[in-house]
């Protein structure tokens, strides 16, 4: 008991008193990658955090083509979509996970409840102006590499709400979209096809840039779309 209490008090002392600033919080991803690269470059391997293995993996993949194939294969076959429904298309997303389609057989595991465990964000439904900052925040909380599927007409272009005063006309105005699935709503089979197309893209079987930042996506021209 006494040892535990001492440890707890020590931990409390280490917590900084000043709260995080907003900028630090929003740039958490950049901070994390910076920390990872710094810790990977350090010579003392015993203090290296576990996540640094992934940072080294990406370095290896640049130099060794076989390792690159290996990483692409494993990434494309273990896509974890996020359980994140906005509107109508979320019903088809449920059908996608249910017994008729049974998405688990292709490696798209059960839909996860937190962005931190996910690779794919399926934007299912129309995006209102008040939802945009929240969706951006969710996207920033996902660990890289991360992919976005625009599911349905509303997420692709605004759909029937094109003329509405409160609608974002397509999620690709704020997020880098990898695959568009068309339909109102798309059938679950269509989402299955979209995710298989995404697998092809991750596996390097379709031309395109694997990991893009938001600013790169804004600059990218039409011909690059998959």
């Amino acid at each position: 008991m006494s040892d535990e209490s001492v440890m707890a008090s020590d931990l409390q002392r280490k917590v900084p008193n000043a709260p995080y600033t907003v900028e630090q919080f929003m740039n958490a991803e950049k901070e994390m990658t910076k920390l990872l690269t710094e810790s990977a470059s350090e010579e003392q391997e015993s203090k290296m955090p576990v996540n640094a293995v992934f940072a080294k993996l990406s370095e290896i993949s640049k130099s060794m083509p076989l390792a690159k194939d290996m990483i692409q294969w494993s990434r494309s076959n273990s896509l974890w979509p996020m359980q994140f429904g906005l509107a109508c298309c979320a019903i088809e997303l449920m059908d996608f996970a249910a017994c008729r389609i049974d998405a688990e057989r292709k490696g798209y595991l059960l839909l996860r409840g937190t962005p931190r465990q996910c690779d794919v964000m399926i934007v299912a439904g129309w995006v209102t102006k008040s939802m945009v900052p929240r969706i951006k925040r969710l996207y920033e909380q996902m660990a890289s590499p991360k992919y976005v599927v625009a599911f349905g007409e509303c997420a692709t272009s605004g759909g029937p709400w094109w003329e509405s005063y409160n609608i974002m006309q397509g999620i690709d105005q704020v997020l880098p979209v990898d695959v568009y699935a068309c339909g109102c709503p798309p059938k679950p089979e269509n989402l299955f096809a979209a995710l298989m197309k995404l697998q092809d893209k991750i596996g390097g079987r379709v031309a395109g840039n694997n990991e893009r930042s938001i600013s790169e996506n804004m600059q990218r021209h039409e011909g690059e779309r998959v």
Partner: protein
């Protein structure tokens, strides 16, 4: 213990959409629940004013995406009253059959998602989606679309019914009558399900009336009110069916009411199929953007849609509505949530919220 304020949502796996709740908890006991809505607002009523009459049904369907046909029919019925168009005899039977199938599909989805919320009872979720898929397939073959049917036209339906519609419907009802008792084994006899629903979120009869809730939530509190019975439309006055009513008004009773309604819907469909003439003419008028002008009198149309009582108030202009106002049942049912959540444990919020059967697109409009 001090009171802690927790933010739930707007994106949360159990909120069935984008509902934001601000919850004050003392330990694990809820002191206050404050719903914040509006994350799906897109101005449906305003958009309808800019469209011709028969362009709007597809907007109406996206209000309630779990039971789209119900809002479709409600809006078209309001337009029919404004135009003075009679509904064909055969189309009345066909509409009742399709609406009851839609009610079954909606309630089945609700049972599945509630079971999923209450501790991952995946078996019931999978069974509900298995049965719903069969109903949806029939509706798809009738209308040509899987989810948003847009199947109603002035005076009838969009296209003739398939040749084997009656046989398939009978087969589907027999199948549902056979499989519905299976849910009793995984839900009514399941201790987890009973512990999390019985005596949780009880709504008294007086509160239910004062808050103005409708549909299964009202009937679970002991009020025998159903628009199909109190103000019958189409052929509902010729049919024999019960209105299931429960007494306690807790989450379990709301589940029981919806479960019994599925059985009553199969009864209604069986009678309507027997009474429906063979080779009935069900096809309505094709869509014409500039059609006959509507009468200027305001229209009020009530329907019992799966979530409660839907109502449309419309002031017609000649070719498009001048003003259209919707009473969505889930918006009013949501108002009970802070009342029901006083003093419950934190995890019960999601059982109560699930049992109210909220559809956020209909709330925000």
């Amino acid at each position: 213990m001090s009171v802690v304020r927790i933010n739930v949502g707007p994106i949360h796996p159990s909120t069935h959409g984008v509902l934001r709740l601000v919850v004050d908890v003392d330990g694990d006991t809820v002191k206050l629940v404050e719903p914040h809505i509006g994350f799906l607002h897109r101005g449906v009523e305003k958009l309808c004013e800019t469209r011709m009459y028969m362009q709007s049904p597809s907007y109406m369907e996206k209000l309630d995406y779990i039971a789209p046909l119900a809002w479709d029919e409600l809006y078209v019925a309001a337009v029919e009253q404004a135009m003075g168009t009679p509904v064909k005899d055969g189309a009345q039977y066909a509409r009742v059959i399709l609406l009851e199938f839609q009610r079954i599909a909606s309630h089945l989805l609700w049972i599945g998602t509630l079971a999923n919320d209450l501790g991952q009872l995946i078996t019931a979720f999978m069974w509900a989606f298995r049965d719903r898929a069969k109903v949806i397939k029939l509706l798809e073959d009738v209308s040509g679309s899987r989810m948003f049917y847009v199947n109603m036209r002035l005076g009838g339906l969009y296209q003739p019914l398939p040749d084997d519609f009656k046989e398939r419907s009978y087969g589907l009802i027999d199948y549902l009558d056979r499989t519905m008792p299976e849910y009793l084994d995984v839900l009514d006899k399941n201790e987890v399900f009973i512990d999390r629903t019985k005596n949780v979120g009880a709504l008294s009869r007086d509160d239910a009336i004062n808050y103005g809730v409708s549909g299964p939530v009202l009937r679970a509190s002991g009020v025998r009110e159903d628009v199909r019975r109190s103000q019958p439309y189409y052929i509902y006055d010729k049919l024999k069916f019960d209105i299931p009513v429960m007494r306690n008004g807790d989450c379990f009773d709301r589940y029981r009411v919806r479960y019994e309604e599925i059985l009553q819907s199969t009864k209604i469909i069986r009678q309507a199929l027997a009474m429906m003439p063979d080779n009935a003419d069900v096809v309505g008028a094709p869509i014409k953007l500039i059609g006959p002008a509507a009468k200027p009198d305001p229209v009020v149309m009530r329907r019992e849609i799966p979530r409660g009582e839907g109502l449309i108030y419309m002031i017609p202009d000649k070719q498009r509505p001048y003003r259209i106002s919707l009473r969505s049942p889930t918006f009013i049912n949501l108002a009970v949530l802070p009342k029901l959540c006083e003093g419950v444990k934190f995890a019960d919020i999601f059982a109560i919220m699930g049992s109210l059967d909220l559809v956020l697109a209909e709330i925000d409009r």
